[in-house]
Symmetry: C2
Subunit: 349 residues, 2 copies
């Protein structure tokens, strides 16, 4: 990447998802766990956007995770230039506004990345960033469109429009989480991609778009940062000012409304790791189709995902099962039904 100015990675660590319960909990959300490698999802995200062409990251996170995030980033040599600790969660548009302001609000390019996604082909990711950069420098808001391989109803989709530069296309339309038949039609048509929630734009371009399309978000973020408390790299936005912001996603607040929005389709081994099934699919299996982690004894067991943390799991003669246990909870469900963790969490409330 021959760009003269470094890209500032902005890592969004706001997720408190429970889709990988019992491993992911509000105390230890998915991004802080090592699920696909020895590194945590956060560490992998930071490493993916480090090196010559990247500045140290800005991280936006829940204040309860401050110490853990600092320790994890330090451990892989990618300390944050700013760790913005949200006093309350207000979705992605306000979070990114804080980061854009912390970056100075000028023409620096910001690479917005969720902290808990898998990207196995970093080269493809970097090439897509490289392709996007000229339009970004001209003030376009760029999203990366994930090459779809299934009629997913859990993602937003993007209708890819005309090319405006090599590999860069205008967004014809954003499509909210579609019904199944619509998803199948989009997959078959071949001109739609998944909205992966990864963006590249200049700070000023984003803040300018906010000023037009979501002025209340911008105002709240500005006030929160004006009155912010600084503590080393930690930034504590003013709680009252930030809490006044509407809770909006970047898609809804800006991307779906701004005029110069582009998409770079890319195939880079992306996954949002939204379920235990997704982890099983991503992981290298043993000869019996099992993915075992921790203290696991499996006899005549096939095509299972077994994760043991703090306990030993012993299985005989089971097939196509997902088993995840820590010292407090044991989750058991068949492969293909891991989205139903939600039902359990509801039932346990």
């Amino acid at each position: 990447m021959p760009e003269t100015t470094s890209i500032i990675p902005v890592i969004l660590s706001g997720g408190s998802g429970t889709r990988l319960w019992p491993m992911s909990t509000p105390e230890t959300p998915k991004q802080l766990l090592a699920l696909t490698a020895d590194e945590t999802m956060l560490q992998l995200t930071a490493q993916r956007a480090s090196g010559d062409h990247f500045a140290p990251p800005i991280v936006v996170a829940n204040q309860r995770h401050a110490e853990e995030i600092e320790a994890q980033l330090k451990a892989v040599g990618t300390p944050a230039q700013a760790l913005i600790l949200e006093p309350v969660a207000r979705n992605t548009a306000p979070a990114i506004a804080l980061a854009a302001l912390a970056a100075g609000g000028g023409d620096a390019a910001l690479l917005i990345m969720p902290s808990d996604h898998v990207i196995t082909d970093t080269d493809a990711f970097h090439a897509a960033i490289h392709a996007a950069r000229p339009m970004v420098d001209q003030g376009w808001l760029v999203t990366f469109g994930i090459d779809p391989h299934a009629p997913e109803t859990g993602y937003g989709w993007i209708h890819v429009g005309e090319a405006v530069a090599p590999r860069v296309h205008k967004v014809a339309r954003f499509v909210e989480k579609p019904p199944r038949d619509r998803a199948e039609a989009m997959l078959a048509a071949g001109d739609h991609v998944w909205n992966g929630g990864i963006f590249l734009f200049r700070a000023d371009a984003f803040l300018g778009a906010l000023a037009v399309h979501a002025p209340e978000v911008l105002h709240a973020a500005q006030q929160a940062m004006l009155k912010a408390r600084h503590e080393g790299a930690r930034v504590h936005p003013d709680p009252q000012a930030f809490a006044a912001s509407p809770s909006d996603s970047i898609d809804y607040a800006v991307m779906e409304k701004a005029p110069r929005v582009a998409v770079v389709p890319v195939s880079m081994g992306w996954s949002d790791l939204g379920s235990w099934d997704a982890l099983h699919e991503l992981s290298a299996c043993d000869g019996s189709g099992n993915v075992c982690k921790g203290d696991v004894v499996a006899i005549e067991t096939e095509n299972c995902l077994v994760q043991a943390d703090g306990v030993r799991i012993a299985l005989v003669g089971v097939t196509d099962l997902i088993v995840v246990a820590n010292g407090k909870d044991v989750l058991i469900l068949p492969r293909g039904r891991s989205q139903e963790v939600k039902k359990l969490i509801e039932a346990m409330k």
Copy 2:
């Protein structure tokens, strides 16, 4: 039961089985666990032979369980008259010899009971004891033959011979654990019963039979008791003397050899609870065929046995599964395969 002298229950608590792993372990064997009721198997065994016609029990146990056994028996109001703490395990013949000597070796009737069996119909059990008593008083060694309902290859069987008193038959022959076809033939013939390991005989009759058929066992037990250390109700047989005993079952050492051996067939809801499947069969199921104990959340789950101790188990969409977890271990296997716990224990060694 109109007998003039009380029967002395002899409870054998030597089992250290691991068939109900991970709940049963050498530290907390099956008899010390509450599996079928609020009471433990030991407590249920003691209660089953308490009341007007029974003296306080003599218990033979591993010395590591002394305090737990005392506490459990005290809690249900059936303290032992003697708690004989074996310094080493030497199978049932030497254990019963210790108890017979502790009982004074006279004409007192001893009711030998494993401490970890289920008997749901206590009235039937008492009636069988009552039927056996006249022959016992005449010096016969009586075993109770369990009415068989399956071609079990894991039990010894007894060929029921001619009647010698109402309900009491000579033992035609003991059959060691048979192959499947033999078991099926015995079940079909209708003249065989299972050897449940429950016996009734006079102490002197048993010791006399030992003197003839297993004199080394008798000698070792006598020496061990002569040099025993007494501590309240606790009896510590001399370790060196007891260790010198051959390790023999009562069946092999005495019952298969003595001349006056009888069997009282009885149907009393007996089970040796030899597997998690056996427990599932014995237990009352909910409307979905599940037997759940502890902190269990089950959604769309059918015909499962789920036992949670110290952890929470959450299931969605599973069927015919046995799941047993404590704070250290999680066991998962399909119903019908719980005998294979053995394989796991071997694999974990």
